[in-house]
Symmetry: none
């Protein structure tokens, strides 16, 4: 058997699928919510589980402390010396908070496999798709390969992060401090989606992100709206007034300089997107909507892939419990985020936002900004060999050409890999639009899980031949 | 001696002031906290004390059970047949909880008389001002009158409630069930304050209230702002956009018909308010503000007493926990309330608000309204004889004209007396802004107590002459 033969590994994967789901279930059960301090022990437990699993496969892996949640790093060097490029695989073991809990059909951290009719067997759990199910496809591929061939075909390092859902504060320092150890030819990132259920995709563009929290304070204390209502400044009114000004009637963001430096898509790009025959009505229908709400006269793919946004992700002020309370609160706050495209700098966008708010602040209100951060957008050269290999491998597995697509989301790690380690990232993932990531009843199709692992086997085999 | 002669009664009051303070001390010692079930026996004990005290004066009084804390009702009919109007006096024997206990300088239910320098002798105790000290001014006036003249000058009924501090759930049913028994020409309510330490006041206007909760739904589920941001409708943006429209730049509420039927204050009223030389800067400074935020070109007293408001009392949507979460939520909601003035109907204001929201609802959003309710404003005809008598009596006692003032808040009992029993309420009280009602170290000035009782003697004498 050739050392890079693929079919026996695929067969081993298929034969071991029950054990693979059992391993996925183990890690899904750990509620590793990185934004909630109460769940810090769970994050540590998840990291320990990941390191142990890598060691079982044959990696030399350990849990590495940071100022926040730990990293898991594992290295594998083929016994006979490596061929092909060195790769660094990235995933994250932390998950989003599960709230609102009451909207889940079953407890968010009790994995449940069921046939949902539309997708066949799916596994429900917070993190099933983002990102535990996804990174486990790669580990399962490695496991099967090692079992069949006795050695992996490439020098592979694995980096699993525990703070992706809370802004990755420890990641850049960790990369900077371990540059030599983590250096590779390519990063492989499994945190993205397919084009659709039957069509694989490589994500070659990612929007960036900038985020901020704005806190407006009016009166020095909460007031009774009868005794003070009228003359007293209401900070909720101040906040809603400012936020309502963020977009004009055509959906354009009104922050000064927000669109400076942006490029329009090329005619080629526009033609390629048009050829995708993207189902705009179906996309909207899937989320209960009928009309695109972004900038006027832009297609949905443009609005998602190459146009920046300003969104209010959360707002709170005053009394929000049951019934009524006639209070004028002392403060109100909102969390905002901006999706960025190439040409925009997070710091400049945030400075523009602060000025936008300050310019509109009513009398007697003060403002503070908190929780700021972000990363710029990225776009890769898709003619590079690793991209070509991955595209062919995906087509073999799925029977359809892989779409080279943009992504409306941000994967800050990809920007950090470029800036800290000088690597491009091969972003291949198997998530689907209906996986409900970041929402109640998140799920991952078992078909995504199985064919995802098979896809990685083919990609690893292809990379080993480079 | 004429049967309505006042000065001998005043003299009797002054001579008996030590005994009066002793009686006040007795009732203050009973911790009749109506919101705390542990104190139910104390509420019953306080009700019993009040009934006994009324009976000692010569009323025919009893404790009347309700589903909650009991009412105390007493009736007095002058022996020789009544002259003047029949009056129903209202007060409440229940008190606010005393917490935070550690902020009291002495135990909250051990009345303590001390000279505080600024106010002369004051009595510290929970309930000293709200409302035990206040309603006892009236009972002391009756006691002295009866002692001197052998009979009270009017048909007087007394209603003392035990649930005012817990929303008065039993009051309307009790009024409805005892309409005939409690019917009178005027209610007299002693639960309000003076203009300042030396200036008496009659409260003749109370703003009404309408309240509603608006819930806007956009996408059918929470969305990832990267994967959907741009084309997806954000309900927080819809909500803030609509709420930002509620007021124009001059602070006027933009709901259609909101100001219909409102009357401007008379030139007399405006002149009287101007003469009060209300300390606008001091009022605002007390709540950390420097400029009135209500309708432009209205004084603070107008904004508080005779102008309606629209306030956002609470708002919530999306992620509001620590850190950041790039979600586009499915829904967002806000609680609003409207302070109303005479001429406005709660139902019409709420209908106008619903239409205001519906007219501005963006594509693909739906709206629901919840938690609606309210009560209209009350404003009494101050040219009515009882108001004129009371104003004159107060001026005699205090040496300064009584201020006819508004109150920005609502006193539901006054609305109930109007709607259930068809009576206007004469609201006269002697509380001061520094009495710390609802707060630690509540006190009542003994001067308020003494001159309050003297004021009632003069008011009763005046009413008897009508």
């Amino acid at each position: 058997m050739s050392p890079h033969e693929i079919e026996p590994v695929i067969a081993a994967l298929d034969a071991g699928s029950d054990a693979a789901v059992a391993r996925l279930t183990e890690i899904l059960k750990i509620p590793s919510i990185s934004t909630e301090p109460d769940h810090s022990p769970d994050c540590k437990r998840a990291a320990g589980w990941c390191a142990a699993t890598l060691n079982e496969i044959g990696f030399k892996a350990s849990v590495r402390e940071t100022d926040g949640q730990p990293m898991v790093v594992g290295h594998y060097k083929p016994a006979g010396g490596a061929t092909g490029p060195r790769v660094l695989f990235y995933g994250h073991y932390d998950v989003q908070p599960a709230d609102p809990l009451e909207e889940w059909d079953s407890p968010p951290f009790e994995p449940r496999v069921t046939d949902d009719g539309e997708n066949g067997k799916v596994i429900f759990c917070r993190g099933a798709s983002d990102d535990k199910g996804q990174f486990m496809t790669f580990l399962e591929a490695c496991q099967a390969w090692k079992k069949v061939h006795g050695s992996l075909p490439l020098a592979i390092s694995v980096l699993l992060e525990g703070e992706e859902e809370s802004g990755s504060p420890s990641l850049e320092p960790f990369l900077a401090a371990n540059r030599r150890e983590l250096a590779a030819d390519y990063a492989i990132v499994c945190d993205t989606g397919q084009w659709d259920r039957d069509t694989p995709a490589i994500t070659t563009m990612l929007r960036g992100l900038a985020f901020s929290e704005v806190v407006i304070t009016g009166p020095s204390r909460d007031l009774h709206s009868g005794m003070f209502g009228g003359p007293a400044r209401n900070p909720i009114r101040a906040l809603t007034g400012i936020l309502a000004d963020l977009h004009d009637k055509l959906g354009r963001v009104q922050i000064d300089g927000f669109y400076n430096g942006l490029r329009e898509p090329s005619l080629d790009q526009l033609a390629q997107w048009k050829a995708l025959q993207f189902d705009e009505a179906g996309f909207l229908d899937g989320i209960g909507l009928t009309r695109p709400a972004g900038e006027a006269r832009r297609s949905i793919l443009e609005q998602l892939w190459t146009r920046p946004t300003a969104e209010i992700n959360g707002i709170v002020g005053g009394y929000t419990g049951p019934g009524t309370k006639t209070v004028i609160p002392s403060r109100a706050s909102a969390k905002l985020s901006f999706r960025l495209v190439p040409g925009q700098q997070p710091d400049r966008v945030l400075a523009g936002f602060r000025k936008f708010v300050e310019d509109r602040l009513p009398d007697d209100c003060s403002v503070e900004f908190a929780n700021e951060g972000g990363s710029p957008a990225v776009g890769f050269d898709i003619s590079a060999p690793a991209f070509q290999v991955a595209a062919r491998a995906l087509e073999e597995e799925w029977g359809k050409p892989a779409i080279l697509m943009g992504c409306g989301g941000s994967i800050p790690i990809v920007e950090s890999f470029k800036s800290e380690l000088g690597m491009d990232s091969l972003m291949v993932g198997f998530a689907l639009d209906d996986d409900r990531i970041h929402a109640p009843n998140e799920k991952y199709n078992l078909r995504s899980f199985r064919k995802g692992a098979r896809s990685w086997v083919r990609i690893l085999g292809g990379l080993a031949e480079l």
